[in-house]
Each structure stands twice: as C-alpha cells, then as structure tokens.
Amino acid sequence: MKMNGAQMVCEALIAEGVKTVFGYPGGAIMNVYDEIYKQDGFEHILNRHEQASVHAADGYARATGEVGVAMVTSGPGFTNAVTGLATAYMDSIPMVVISGQVPLSLIGTDGFQEIDAVGISRPCTKHNYLVRELSELPRIMKEAFHIARTGRPGPVLVDIPKDITAEFGEFIYPDEVNIPSFKPTVKGNKRQIEKAVEAILKAKKPLLYIGGGVTLSDSSDLVRKLADMGQIPAVETLMARGAMGAKNPLLQGMLGMHGNYSSNMAMSETDLVISLGARFDDRVTGKLSEFAKYADVIHVDIDPANIGKLVDVDYPIVGDLSSVLEKFIEGLEGKINPDRYADWREVLERYDDLHPQSYVDSDEVIKPQWAIERIGELVGEQAIITSDVGQHQMWAAQHYPFDRPRQWINSGGLGTMGFGFPAALGAKKAFPDKTVINITGDGSILMNVQELVTAAEYKIPVINIILNNHFLGMVRQWQTFFYEERYSETDLSFQPNYKALAEACYGIGYDVTSKAEFDAAIKDAIEQDKVAFINVQVARFENVLPMVPAAGALYNMMLPKKEEE
C-alpha cells in the first residue's frame, strides 16, 4: 500500500499492538501528528513536557512488560527526552522513542531545532537509528521494537527527518526481523548449569540474590519455587521488590546501602551467592572487597557484560532467567534437602530478631515510615506504587508490603527525580482499575509537576502522596552524617501550597498533619477518582536507616535506635 512516512509510523505502531503513545508535537514531527489525528488505532496522551512523556511510556512498560512508546519533536523536544531515555536504559526498560528530525538536506547545517539526536542518545539507548531513506523505515520500526524487547531490554530511539515522513512509498511491514549481528543468548550453557546445581547442593549457606531481571523476565514464580523447594533464604535488590512477596518467610528483605540487617549480614556470611538478574551495583555491594567475601558466586544474566564486571564469578551462566531457572529446578528436584540449610536460616532469623527493620513511631508527628506502612495496609496488594527518588523512595522500598512483581515502579539505576508522577500516569493508563499511588517528596514532585494538567485532562486519577519534610531529604541526611550538618541548599521550607496547586490544575488536594487525616485523605482520594496531591507533613529530621556509608562494607551498618533507647 502507498502511503507517506508519517502514516507508515502509525501503521507500524498499530502493527506492534501499541495502544497508547505518550508525546508532544513540534515542527519536525508534525507530519506524524497529522496522521495520528486521522487514525484510531491507538490513543495519544499529550503530556506537558517531553521528559514526562518518556517517563510515562516507561511506567507503562514497567507495569505491563510491553514496549512503551513516546514521541517527541527534534531539538529541544528530543533533548528533553534524554533523561527519560537514560532512566529507561539504566533499568533495562523496553521502550521505543520516536523523534522528529530536520529534513535530510538541513542535517549538519545547524538548522532550526536541529540537534544530533543519535549522537547524544548513543550512550543512553540500547540502539538508535537515524532514518535516511523512506524505504528503510518499515524495517527500522520493526527492528526497533524487536531490539527493545529482545535479550536485555532497553530503549531504542528512531530519529526521522521531516522530509521522510512526508515522502510517499510502498508500505510493507516485515513479518520477521533478521539482524545477524544481534542474537542474544537465551539458553544457558548446560554444563555450567549442572555445575551450578552441584554447587547449590554442596553449599551450607546459599543465598538467592534477586535483581530486577527477575521482574523483567517475568520469572518470579520460578524464583519462588526454587527458594521454596530448598528453603533457600533470599534477598532482593531495590529493583526486585515484590519478586518473592513480602509475606514470604524466606525473604530477608532488601540488601545494600539501605538494606535491612539480616539481608546485609546474609550477603556478608553466605558461602554461595545465587545471583539472578542482578548486576552488583555499587549501591548494593558497598565495598567490593568485603562483599560476599566467603562466597562462591553463581551469576545468571542475559547480558554477558554484567558477568564478571565487578566481582569474580565462579559459575557464569548467560541466558534467559526463566529457562535457566527451569533447568535449576529440574536439576535440584529430588536432590535438594531443605534441612541442610536449617542452621543457616536460624542464623538469619536471629539476625532479624536482633535488628528488625524498625523505626520509632510518634503520636505527635507522622513518621514517614508509618505513612508507607499505612498505605500498605489501606491499599496493599492491589495497588501499583511508583516513587520518585530520595528518602521517600527508600522508605517505600523498605516498608511497603510488595507482594508481586511490577507492583513497584521506581528509577533505580539513574535515580531520576521527577520520574514517579509521569510513570504513575503510564501505569494507570495500563491498569485503570488499579489504585496507582506515587510516593514522592516535596523535592521530587516539583520536577514534572506540570503533569497535573495531563492527569486532569485525560482523567488519569493517580494519587501523589508527598512525604513533606521541607527538605531535600536524602541530601540533607548525608549532610547530617558526613558534612557536619551544613545544610547547603537543601532546606525547602519555601514551598508552594500543594493543595492549592493541585486544585489550580483541576485535581484535588489534601493537607495532612495527623494520622486520622492521613487515612481520611487516602480514602477520599480513591473515592473522588481525581488526580490528587496528599501533602503529608512528616518528621523533618527522620533518617533512612539502616545505612551503609558509601563504599563501606555491607556489615558495617548505621542502625536505627530501638524503641526503648
């Protein structure tokens, strides 16, 4: 069929099953928007900033596992999208971003709104394309989706010059992708898997180290099965929260800089780390030479470059987690004896009794940890929780009872403030029947606060709970601990009236200073079915604990005070 390049883009999106595109028009992408106007195969959401469009597509992808799609114009449209691309890249989120570009004849002339999009985005995309001929557009669209979702997922940028979207040509969307240089290894090496199974059987203190790859590969059921059959204790990274389920007695908690005592001690004392889709991030390992220093390491990862990057690995297995886990389970069936690890489990239980994840509650002021726990009690398993970046994010990761993968959506690798609200919009578009709550701070929420308008216009009723301590809290915490309380530029006492701000954008606002008001606000916000700001005054100087100072050993934690102290 003959059509112009713009229509080809739309047809390709429809062929890929895309239901929602988040974006913002502009000069170089106008031809495509003209075709969007004419079609009804997918819905377009007009965010109020390109960064938010990309985060929304990202949130959609994290909630569903499908490829998220965002569309922006050239120049500033694209540069605004870069933070979104980098966020998705660091957390391996499948996404296709389409950007307009100046016409081919103007490329390289410093044309109006021209910027080298493929050049800028090269280090923060899995792959990117500048379309140079109309005839390659259908293939590039097909490849972009394939690359985004195949192997280790990631964002792909397709940059399309304006004259190409105007040009007419034959549209044949390929059925298959053939990129000879892109064939990720899916099946784990049989011999390595056998050796790893032997190692698990021989270990006395094995530990499952569960990373975001478990969520990305939808293999949490298999991980739970593996843990269960051997009664093997497990720790989760920030990105894996929900994989084991909060109620699972084998789950020690989250490990790392703000991990709980038993998780970090488990990692420090284990004799066999079974790493499943985790990448030994510095926020997880602390001081590398002290990390799991008594352990052999099994490392299963779809990306070979993750294996041996930071720690020496004894049993490297490159492959898709689901397929490798199935082989593990097969190999261990009938051979693994849960009693073998009973002493180990007891040790960890004692550690948890000694220093459980705790905080001292208060009757005078709302403690942020209490607020998180209370949200969990009120909306629990059915809700999707997004977050921004900072103290609130860590408290949410520590205290929310995550029961399933894809329930917890946050920017882990890049740590992007302003991610939570637009990501919540994406998640709510994907799951309109679920309660979607963005747990945020008074710092983060102002980055992408313009999305109040988007949420109101499209009736996407996400609830933003602002844990307001009038501080850029996490930086303030570091200043308290490491900079002798010099609070350089972290005091946010001057702030907007959040309730009025929400209302000015046709949302609903609540000011909360007591526990009773907190409950009432959440219940009302759910009933009102409107985008909401719940502005919660929380204890100002509360710290996220435990804390492993940067580059310290995991077992050297600053611990919270106990109730009686």
Partner: protein, 159 residues
C-alpha cells in the same frame, strides 16, 4: 579494581558498514574510560562489513569488558581478541631533501619499506612493520631530521 596490571591487546571488530558505527565504537571506549592506542577502519572487500582494528591496554577485567561491551553493540558481528597474529603498522616520514637519500633508503628497506616519493625540497619514506620495530625505526631516523611522521595504526590478522 584488582588485577590492574595492564596488558596490550589488539582487537579486530567486524561491523555492519553503516554511517554511525565508528562513533558507536569510539563512543563506547570514551564513555567507559577504555584506552585506545590506535584505531584503524576500512571496508571488507565484497561485503557490507567494515574491519576495525583497535590496539588497547587494560587489566584483564577491563579487556574482558571491552570485548563484551563491543559484542553488545547491535551492528557488531564479530569481535576477535588476537593472540596468534601477524601485526603490522605503516608509517610515512617526510625528510628534507638535503639528508642522505642512500641512508634513508637503506634504513627504510631494513624496516620493510623504501623511499616512495621525492620532490624538490623533500623526500618521503614509507615502512610497514611490527609496532615494536616501527618504534625502533622512528628512533633510528631521528638523526635525519624528519619533518613529519605519520603512523597508520596497527592492522592485524590471526595466524
């Protein structure tokens, strides 16, 4: 990082011959802080591939990462870490015509080359040899007052 003992390695990369592929590779090295000693690139005859030869230095862990990260780039077909290889580098040198042409000719031919151009005021010598011998050659020509030395970067082929 432990095992920081740096070793030299020559890596050949076979890539799809497309416009931005070289910047993908040089960008990878720059972005991740890998060292590039020399880099050469040319199309592979009768194909849509290019052959990139990179001489680099790094610890064992870094060299392993370089190979793996190169593999991850979508247009990269093949990464060869050379072990048993023939490795050559070409050098062009411009001399003042006043220098002894016979000496220069003899010197160049000792390093697989010769004088390739003679003009009114200059002559140009060319050699192609192993990188360590090229280094010796450049030391040896010092006394003939070279005006300009252009090294070509290494190319290598597995034996």
């Amino acid at each position: 990082m432990e095992n920081s003992h740096n070793v030299r390695r020559v890596i050949s990369v076979l890539v799809e011959n497309e416009s931005s592929v070289l910047s993908r590779i040089s960008g990878l090295f720059a972005g991740r802080g890998y060292n590039i000693e020399t880099l050469t690139v040319a199309p592979v005859p009768n194909s849509n591939l290019s052959h990139i030869t990179i001489a680099t230095k790094g610890s064992a862990r870094v060299l392993e990462q370089i190979t793996k990260q190169l593999h991850k780039l979508v247009p990269v077909y093949k990464v060869i870490e050379h072990e048993e290889m023939v490795e050559k580098e070409m050098v062009l040198v411009k001399f003042p015509i006043e220098e002894s042409l016979a000496d220069i000719e003899a010197l160049c031919s000792a390093y697989n080359g010769g004088i390739v151009n003679v003009g009114v005021s200059i002559c140009i010598g060319m050699v192609a040899d192993e990188p360590c011998r090229v280094k010796h050659f450049i030391e040896a020509i010092e006394r003939y007052n070279p005006i300009e030395v252009v090294r070509g970067g290494v190319v290598a082929i597995e034996r």
